[in-house]
Symmetry: C2
Amino acid sequence: MSTCIDVAKRAGVSRQTVSRVINNSPNVAEETRNRVLKAIEELSYRPNMLARSLKSAKSCSVGFVICDPLNPFYIKIANSLQNRLNEYNYRLVVLFANEDVREEGNFFNYMYEQQVDIVLFTPSEYSNQIERLIQRHQTPVIQLFRKIYPTINSIKVDDTYGTYLATKELLKSGHKDILLIEPALPFETGRLEGFRQALEEFGVPYRPWMFLTLPTNGQNEATLSAYFSEHKPTAAIPVSKSIEMQLLNMLGENATQIPNDVSVIFYDDNEVANLIKVTAIDHDIEYITALIVEKLFSNLEHPERSFHSVVKPKLLHRSSVLKL
Amino acid sequence: MSTCIDVAKRAGVSRQTVSRVINNSPNVAEETRNRVLKAIEELSYRPNMLARSLKSAKSCSVGFVICDPLNPFYIKIANSLQNRLNEYNYRLVVLFANEDVREEGNFFNYMYEQQVDIVLFTPSEYSNQIERLIQRHQTPVIQLFRKIYPTINSIKVDDTYGTYLATKELLKSGHKDILLIEPALPFETGRLEGFRQALEEFGVPYRPWMFLTLPTNGQNEATLSAYFSEHKPTAAIPVSKSIEMQLLNMLGENATQIPNDVSVIFYDDNEVANLIKVTAIDHDIEYITALIVEKLFSNLEHPERSFHSVVKPKLLHRSSVLKL
DNA sequence: CTGTTAGCGCCTTCAC
DNA sequence: GTGAAGGCGCTAACAG
């Protein structure tokens, strides 16, 4: 790997001049600049970012810890975020935590070592170890989609409103026995709140069985099947890709038709929702990532200004039914 | 951010001793080591990896350029790879190229700047720009799942064999009019070869319409619908998540049942295949990533040894049919 | 406009 | 066992 000294020698200038050229400093004679550029080209020189970051104490990179890589929503966010950040010459470093706090902690340490300028993360659960870690370092941190740490800046989707929308849609169709199914995550999502709001608005009483939480890992088809037999809901709102798939599997095995027998609204639109034509709560990925980027840079400039942004989801209506 | 000097001062030693402690050098008195560890703890000191990598000229990081982030196969690979590499104290830097060669080139430059020790990538198409880029740098590169550059080390799945397996399965059920549908990518996958091999073995003549390629971006439901009307295949092997979904959408709109009207085998098992209970070609993620990690480290040690590994896929049999 | 000096945080080498 | 010197590749600050 050639260095700026190699380039300097070849172009017959000092390395400072090389530095000026690669940083587009205006104070370089056109002729000198061309000589340097030629040398750079010939040696296929690339500046060593480690050295540059070491010197400047900023790495122009953003860390992003994703709780669940198999949920395409987060991947779409990461992808769009990366595209946007690249335009600013910033890089996104993506890490998969798989809902494991210990892994999350390791990643934080890793990012501090790598001197990322700012950390985005979807916390998996509250951990005062991680909270202390964040407090002790002055690297800014933004929690995304889950507001678990009260003192840490956050950007999230209004899940209370999302569930409210979905529930209202089902109530409007005359359903009264609706089941909300969430993964059992160790924090409040606010979805139950929106669910109950909608019920109340329609004068439908809330009964405890209407809210079911399922273990995040493992197959819950049997549980679901028993639950449906017992409580006979006419509609369901499964939350998270994994639960959606398990619910469909179970309904399929029981030869139940959607929405003929059980109406379903997905919380998170995806290709399966599109395939079987079910209505879903939809998130505007591009709008969300634009907001994240905006907040991210303003946070770098003004670390003292705290924020807790909330984005409203939409209902994506689908009517027809697919029968396979 | 505290540095090794801060720790040294606090522990009353030289920074060299601090360095020895964080690198587990045996030549440190137990008492000194404890004093240093205490200072590290108190300052929540983390070594600056930029400085360390700059000095040692290795970053202990592996770059991974993913062609298609929305294909869960690649995400599963990335996730498993990251877990394995972390055990060796290596990091995986994931980049999403979205089948864009220009993006790919940018990422290569980025990785050279970041001094990653080795690059894994799923090339999107042949580009002599990228080939030259790779040749001019001495960072090892491994192409994954697509062997596009003949001279570059590769690890891939035997797609010829995979299609052979899938086709044979359909032929065994008596199908003679089988359609293989691939995304139109600018390189040979070898799938057609396996398809024809199987046909030949069963004495079924190959007809050109049996191989269809579709544009990678955009909806092809109309094309597919017209194609099915014209050629009336009784079975299909869609390749890639996107084509699978489009095919199902089309079949659903035409109220076709699988496998009653059209038998389908997915190339790549995923949750949708599981949901609608179709047979699929399955890849052993853990086996593949173990192989990648093994080859990766042996490549770092012996850059001169070239290799082209091939992993055999399996057929995952599913029998029942889901009717939604 | 260009070159020199000094230092970012760490580690290798060689003294003591 | 421990410390001092020097340098990895780059750039800010100051000379000229």
